[in-house]
């Protein structure tokens, strides 16, 4: 089949190969020489057992070189290399068996020394098999590559775990008391030679990361008073960098070299440290805010970390979640929420001066506060510095300044800066910066605060007893301070109230000079005081006489004015002369009225008493007043709701009490109706109008009702509020709605 041409070609090839191997030697001498050289070379680079003698001991070095020379000339070296690799593959199960044995041992004991020993053992094998340098770089690198490939294929995941542990054990302990283990240079060299460093770089890095994480958590958790970042960096330089040098700068010869090599990986580690610290502080942020200002160090850290790591979104997210879970629920006191809100403002201002974070975090808090009924009261009572309020929201050091309003962008501002990139669309850069302005801006309207201020001031002024000018002066100072914040006009009414206090004193002085009286009224200008709860007590007996006499003198002094008594707001100092004792006591007027009635007859029922003082007194109040006297041992409840005067003290159970010295004050703060009540009062007016229009005009749509309500004086509710109101009326079955048309429930 073979053509002549093919035959000739094969023959030529054969001749050529033969000539190459035979080196033009006579006969087959060349061929024989080649065979010998081949055998020597194979023998010399053959992978051997660890206990076998090295090839040098059997053969002379020059013999190898001659053999290799010969093989090279015959261009048979690649074939030799192949057979070497093949041999290695065949011998490798020995190593595999060894690897398995050691890793099994490690798995059993978790002792990293087995891994260490294994590494050294592998190194021995490697060195044993490594062909001589003289045989050329090609052979060398082919061997290394092949050895490593085989090695990696037999290394199990268990080994990887062990390797990680081994690396970790070389790190300086987080416990500063134990010494840094002496660096095991040999081990790292072994790692490098075996190619483990390159292959397991990630694992080594993760060992480093975990170490840093553990240290940061151990060193910084809950320690917020000082910035930790500096300390951490120092720790990195002292403890971690030497460790890193071993692997990342192993070839460095000079310090500069090492620095250059470490630069990349070093910044990665530093980043990781910042991230870990940032994560930790983010997790702790709620408690950090609670601890403010003791936690300012932590905030400094957080600020620096946020510059390095972009974790702002996660900070906002975490804080919002924490607020939702821990703060904005019905169990939290409004005062507490406000305090935390103020602390949040201060803290986030440290972390992020432009206020983007604050804006994002504050929004839910503000929305929640807006829904709380007592928010305004809390803020206002803080503004005037209620004595019992505990710590104030406002820094004493913060300068008092007028409330700031949102301003339009100032186009001429030469210091203008664009808004931060992560700012939301609603973000306003020029927000009010002081705490009070921020709090007041929770509500869109400032009037609510002013109203509440008036209420509170009224309450506090009325609570002042015994002409305590000092307290009035204190209120005056408060009002002056608030004027700076809210403006002169808003506080005019408060001004009048204060003036009433001084005027009362003057008028009283005048009236007393005309006709001395033991009544010392405070005269209020009705228009300027908040609606005071009007329980009309008709004072009996001598009180009535006293009031009337005083009123007569007053009218003589100011003919155009008329006194309308609000007796329930006063206090009465009483001295009761009983048969065996004298009781001296300060009581509210209702109590006084009752005891006055007991001077007419000894036994009264509660209903009779109420009828005497005017029916506006309800049972609970009356009972409370009577029980005051029972507590003082002046009255005794004979049967249910029937009381008897004890002219002679009952000595039975509590005879030990010393009546003569009883001087007790049972005065409570007079209450002015809150804004809510006043609003309810206003809504009652509006309801009358709604009732009127629905009676006459039949059924109306919400829009029409809203429009018609403009006829009611001072109507200022939105249609949404009206809708809520009507819905409530519907629930009380006052109105019905069909197809959006409201009408009164048919009778």
């Amino acid at each position: 089949m073979a053509t002549d041409a093919l035959r000739a070609q094969v023959a030529a090839k054969w001749q050529e190969s033969f000539a190459r191997l035979n080196h033009n030697e006579p006969g087959i001498v060349g061929l024989l020489n080649f065979t010998q050289a081949w055998n020597i070379a194979r023998e010399c680079i053959r992978p051997r057992g660890l206990d076998e003698p090295d090839s040098f001991t059997q053969y002379d070095k020059s013999t190898f070189q001659a053999s290799f020379e010969l093989l090279n000339k015959s261009r048979r070296l690649p074939i030799l290399l192949e057979s070497l690799l093949e041999d290695m593959r065949k011998r490798f199960p020995v190593i595999k068996e060894e690897v398995d044995r050691y890793t099994l041992e490690y798995e059993r004991t978790s002792d990293t020394s087995f891994i260490l020993n294994l590494v050294f053992r592998l190194l021995k094998w490697y060195k044993k098999w490594l062909p001589m340098q003289e045989l050329g770089a090609t052979l060398h690198s082919a061997f290394v590559l092949s050895f490593q490939t085989h090695l990696f294929s037999v290394l199990t995941p268990t080994f990887v775990r062990g390797f990680k542990d081994l690396c970790a054990s070389t790190l300086p302990s987080t416990d500063p008391r134990t010494n840094v283990p002496a660096p095991n240079v040999e081990m790292w060299q072994a790692f490098e030679i075996l190619g483990l460093l390159d292959r397991y770089e990630n694992i080594i890095a993760s060992v480093g990361y975990e170490h840093i994480e553990a240290h940061v958590v151990a060193a910084c958790s809950g320690r917020w008073s000082n910035p930790m970042l500096g300390q951490l960096r120092k720790w990195m330089t002292d403890k971690v960098v030497p460790w890193m040098l071993l692997m990342y700068a192993r070839n460095a010869t000079t310090a500069d070299d090492a620095r250059a090599m470490l630069q990349n990986v070093g910044s990665r580690f530093d980043f990781h440290m910042a991230k870990t610290l940032c994560d930790l502080r983010t997790k702790e942020i709620f408690d950090i805010i609670i601890d403010y200002p003791d936690s300012s160090g932590a905030l400094q850290d957080l600020k620096e970390c946020l510059h390095r790591v972009d974790q702002r979104a996660s900070l906002v997210h975490t804080l919002r979640k924490a607020n939702q879970k821990r703060l904005l629920h019905p169990g939290a006191d409004t005062r507490l929420i406000l305090t935390q809100y103020v602390a949040t403002i201060k803290c986030l201002r440290v972390v992020d001066p432009p206020g983007v974070l604050l804006f994002k975090v504050a929004d839910p808090i503000r929305r929640y506060l807006r829904e709380r009924p007592d928010t305004i009261r809390c803020i206002v009572s803080n503004l005037v510095g209620d004595d019992d309020s505990g710590d104030s929201l406002v820094d004493e050091s913060e300068p008092i300044q007028p409330l700031q309003q949102y301003e339009l962008d100032d186009y001429l501002d030469s210091n203008w800066e664009p808004e931060p990139v992560d700012a939301g669309p609603d973000f306003r850069a020029n927000k009010p910066s002081d705490v009070i302005s921020t709090l007041v801006s929770i509500y869109d309207s400032r009037d609510l605060f002013v109203k509440e201020l008036q209420l509170l001031l009224a309450q506090r002024l009325l609570a002042i007893i015994d002409d305590d000018t000092e307290k009035v002066e204190k209120e005056r100072r408060n009002v002056e301070i608030l004027k700076i914040r809210f403006g002169e006009a808003a506080l005019q009414i408060c001004e009048v109230m204060l003036k009433d206090m001084t005027d009362s004193k003057r008028i009283d002085g005048h009236v007393q000079s005309q006709k001395a009286s033991i009544v010392h009224p405070i005269i209020l200008s009705k228009q300027f005081w908040p609606m005071l709860e009007a329980t009309e007590i008709v004072m009996p007996g001598q009180f009535r006489t006293l009031q009337d006499e005083y009123a007569k003198e007053f009218t003589a002094f100011k003919p155009d004015k008329k006194l309308r008594w609000l007796p329930h707001l006063g206090t009465v100092h009483l001295v009761l002369h009983l048969e065996d004792r004298i009781v001296e006591v300060d009581v509210p007027p209702l109590e006084a009225a009752f005891i006055e009635l007991f001077s007419q007859q000894d036994v009264w029922t509660m209903d009779e008493l109420i009828a005497k003082v005017g029916s506006s007194v309800d049972g609970t109040a009356a009972l409370k007043a009577l029980l005051t006297w029972v507590d003082l041992g002046v009255l005794k409840e004979q049967a249910e709701n029937t009381f008897r005067l004890l002219e002679v003290a009952e000595s039975a159970a509590d005879g030990a009490r010393e009546w003569r010295t009883v001087t007790k004050s049972v005065i409570e703060l007079p209450s002015a109706p809150s804004i809510q009540q006043q609003q309810a009062e206003q809504m009652r007016v509006y309801w009358k109008f709604i009732e009127g229009m629905l009676t006459n005009l039949g059924s109306l749509s919400l829009d029409r009702i809203q429009a018609m309500l403009k006829l009611a004086p001072g109507y200022d509710q939105t249609i949404e509020q009206l809708g809520i109101f009507m819905e409530a009326a519907r629930l009380e079955e006052l109105v019905v709605v069909r197809d959006g048309m409201w009408k009164l429930t048919p009778k």
Partner: protein, 200 residues
């Protein structure tokens, strides 16, 4: 009410421009509008049972609609009458014009037009009267019974209206059978139309 008012927090937007009654009413009628506004407020806040009135629209305070319930114990008890009230521009120097919209069988009321013959609405009108007093008068005119309030406040009026003024009847049939209350009731119910809901 509590849950309503607690959620009434702050007014979010300032109330839209008040197209208040003053601006759209006749020129120079500012004081009239003011008086009518006051009367409305007084009427709304006083709880006189069975009488009520309200402007037809929010833009015109001069046209009102009123409602009168027949006083109990009279032949009109349980019936409700709708009336229309129109105020002249020179109110209160001139009386308002009042008509029954619901057919009202009564000696002094025209059954067809609803006009009322009542001297305080005509020659005896005085500026001290108000919507409220007139409505109370009308209510008592219906039954011939005066409420105690009226007796107290308008003693003079009592003398005029103790009885329907049969001397000047607009409805002669009604005047004729006034004394026979049962027959009167039959006639009354024949003409009476209950209020419909959708009058708005």
């Amino acid at each position: 009410m509590e849950q309503v008012t607690s959620s009434l927090a702050p007014p979010r937007a300032s109330a839209p421009n008040k197209s208040g009654p003053a601006s759209s009413s006749q020129s120079g009628a500012g004081s009239v509008t003011k008086r009518l506004g006051n009367e409305l407020m007084t009427l709304m806040m006083s709880s006189s049972p069975g009488i009520s009135a309200f402007p037809k629209t929010d833009s015109n305070l001069f046209d009102w609609i009123g409602t009168i319930e027949g006083a109990s114990g009279t032949v009109y008890a349980g019936l409700t009458f709708r009336i229309s009230i129109h105020f002249p521009p020179n109110y209160p120097y001139v009386a308002m014009a009042i008509k029954f919209e619901t057919p009202c069988y009564h000696p002094n009321v025209d059954i067809n037009t609803g006009s009322i013959c009542l001297d305080i609405l005509q020659d005896k009108w005085s500026a001290v009267y108000s919507v409220q007093t007139i409505l109370i008068s009308l209510q008592s005119l219906l039954g011939g019974a005066f409420s105690p309030i009226l007796r107290q406040d308008f003693g003079e009026l009592c003398l005029i209206f103790t009885e329907p003024n049969n001397a000047s009847p607009l409805n002669n049939d009604a005047a004729a059978i006034w004394d026979n209350q049962e027959a009167f009731k039959v006639q009354l119910m024949r003409y009476y139309r209950p209020l419909k809901d959708d009058t708005a």
